[in-house]
């Protein structure tokens, strides 16, 4: 085991790459849960984003069209969850779970029907990397950030945007009020349901962007179930980051670093003992449980998170 394997530029660059899909899902979770809707369908939104991004890229040969399509389908899936959670007052866990199963079944089904057993086309339009020429020559820093994908930067920009939106704008204030105390929000004339719809739909778009990143920036293909639970790690990052965009970024980076390490330490050993790298991958989940249990800081969700809101008097 070497220092390079622990904090080399390669590991840090990989950390950013690996953190990005987690971050986008986590941002989706922040927006949705701050408005009071638990959206565990983020995993499914990612998956449809990944798949329909590939389909659109294949059909249109345009990255822009592909990303728009991916986010539109993610928004659509999230909208179904929104109807269930907000209008039908379904159990949000069951509904989200049903949509995850649906997303997995649907994408696998369509993948089989569209592309059979040969896999998705190899000449897909991919999301480009952003080369920062002046930095490329800088040692270390250049290796870490000079060749990152456009969506990595987009994710970082979204952290700032959403942080400002939530805590420095009027619509953000209203969204937080809806998630904390929807009755209070309603009594001052804020449209609770409408706010929640937009928040859930936005969360689906963010997660779908994360999915499209996986298929169009990283893998350049689609395989069944390729999101591999990143939507859930995103939720973990949201919780660990205490329902704030900046916190989610920090958590995503920690989780991404854990995964990057498990790659870089593959086959490494300390003395005679091989490093159990797979156990590093449990880091996000263990940390999240500890955080929620209050052993590592205290993580408290918005007060009305996950509770269907029932308007009075429409009995």
């Amino acid at each position: 085991m070497t220092i390079d394997q622990l904090i080399g530029a390669g590991v840090l660059a990989a950390t950013l790459r690996l953190a990005t899909p987690i971050l986008l899902a986590a941002l989706g979770g922040v927006v949705s849960e701050r408005a009071g809707v638990v959206n565990i369908a983020l995993e499914g939104c990612m998956l449809v984003g990944a798949f329909f991004g590939v389909v659109a890229a294949d059909q249109s040969h345009s990255v822009v069209v592909a990303l728009v399509a991916a986010m539109a389908v993610g928004a659509g899936l999230a909208a179904i969850h929104a109807v269930a959670a907000i209008h039908l007052r379904s159990d949000q866990i069951v509904s989200g779970m049903a949509l995850n199963i649906l997303a997995l079944g649907l994408t696998s089904y369509l993948d089989y029907q569209f592309y059979g057993t040969t896999g998705t086309p190899s000449d897909l339009a991919g999301v480009p990397d952003i080369e920062i020429a002046p930095l490329a020559a800088v040692p270390f820093v250049g290796d870490v950030i000079a060749h990152q994908n456009a969506i990595v930067w987009a994710g970082l920009a979204l952290v700032v945007l959403i942080q400002v939106f939530l805590f420095r704008t009027v619509p953000g204030l209203r969204l937080r009020a809806v998630g904390e105390h929807p009755r209070a929000a309603e009594t001052v004339g804020i449209a609770v349901r409408q706010t929640r719809y937009w928040a859930v739909i936005a969360s689906g778009m963010l997660a779908a962007l994360g999915g499209a990143y996986l298929s169009l920036s990283v893998a350049h293909s689609f395989t069944d179930g390729m999101t591999g639970g990143r939507g859930f790690i995103g939720l973990a990052a949201m919780i660990f980051g205490r329902w704030t965009p900046v916190g989610a970024l920090v958590a995503s980076l920690i989780f991404g670093y854990g995964t990057a390490l498990s790659f870089s330490l593959q086959g490494a050993s300390i003395g005679d003992v091989r490093v159990p790298v797979q156990l590093l991958s449990t880091l996000p989940y263990v940390l999240t449980i500890l955080a929620v249990a209050g052993f590592v800081g205290r993580s408290r969700p918005p007060a009305a998170d996950g509770i269907p809101y029932e308007t009075e008097g429409h009995a």
Partner: protein, 378 residues
Amino acid sequence: MASEPQATPTGPATAPSVRQPTAQWARGPAVPVASVVFALAIGAIFVLLSGHDPIAAYIDLFRGAFGSPYDITETLIQTIPLVLAGLAVAVAFRTGLFNIGAESQLLIGAVAAGAVGARFADLPGFVLFPMVLAAGIGAGAGWAAIAGYLKAARGVNEVITTIMQNYIVVFVMHWLLQNGPMTAPNALGTPASAPIGAGAVLPIIIPNELVPLTRLHAGIFLAIAAVVVFWFLLWRTPLGYELRAVGLGARAAAQAGIDPRTRIVIAMAIAGGFAGLAGMIQVTGVFHRVFDGFSSGYGFDAIAVALLGKNSPIGIALAALLFGAFARGGSIMQANAGVSAQLVSVIEAVVLFVIAAELIVRVLTARRRERKPLEAIA
């Protein structure tokens, strides 16, 4: 029939508040049956859109599941873990807990059973089998009890804990089987453990002459026994009464001297025991070892099984049979009709979705009827 890990909401992390869906939502089988019919109709639309004949596809699905004695035994083999995992979800539900972790409880039960079965492979069956059984049930119970404890003592929403536990077990298994203590040198194509001892293997219960090549094993008796135990426990013992009381009215139970915190831990442990038994049966009855990708998402399908079966013993058995038939029939349908077996995931998702919307609407309207007048005029 695979599915993805699910979930994470978070109630206020204070006292162990329990959720409501344990109420007797719908009476009779009308809603579950309607949801399945509706889901099949949605599935048919997908088949149609992809240029196939839905009737033919469903006929293939049915034939694949029940077309021959052999098919029926294969369907039953799929059904067994679904029944047990379904009970694991239902016990928790009845206590007001949402156990998303049946998958990891099943896996850890399988790992424990596989480890004991391989480590003590030379022991005779009458010693080894009870050991393997206890290992599977105990491991599942202990693992699930962690989620119960965190809920009871620290107010941690069990949905979060059990989701996280699902992933933790997956990675721990990777380690155990790829380069950890359970890794067997010359196993299958996928990382796997050494085989368990012959004494722990569940026998095939149908003679080869009757149904050639059948794999149906004695685990089916354990599954049936578990359904009876589930019923007896919940409706014929004080503990079961207490669990149901906690599930339906935790504060009323608390003031009557039934401490919800201990009951939450016990309920999760029982749930984990059922799921661990499922894993143990898959090891001793079907695979005779543990390997990476051991469960095809039984623990997630179990949530649909429990909800579709309304958390009742018979309902769970029937729902598990339905999903078992989907799992078995789906692969035959894919081979014969060229319709992806993933269709059954779509159907399952729609079933869940309909039930989720329906039952909660019912619970809420019932609750509103009950509560509104008092609040309104107070």
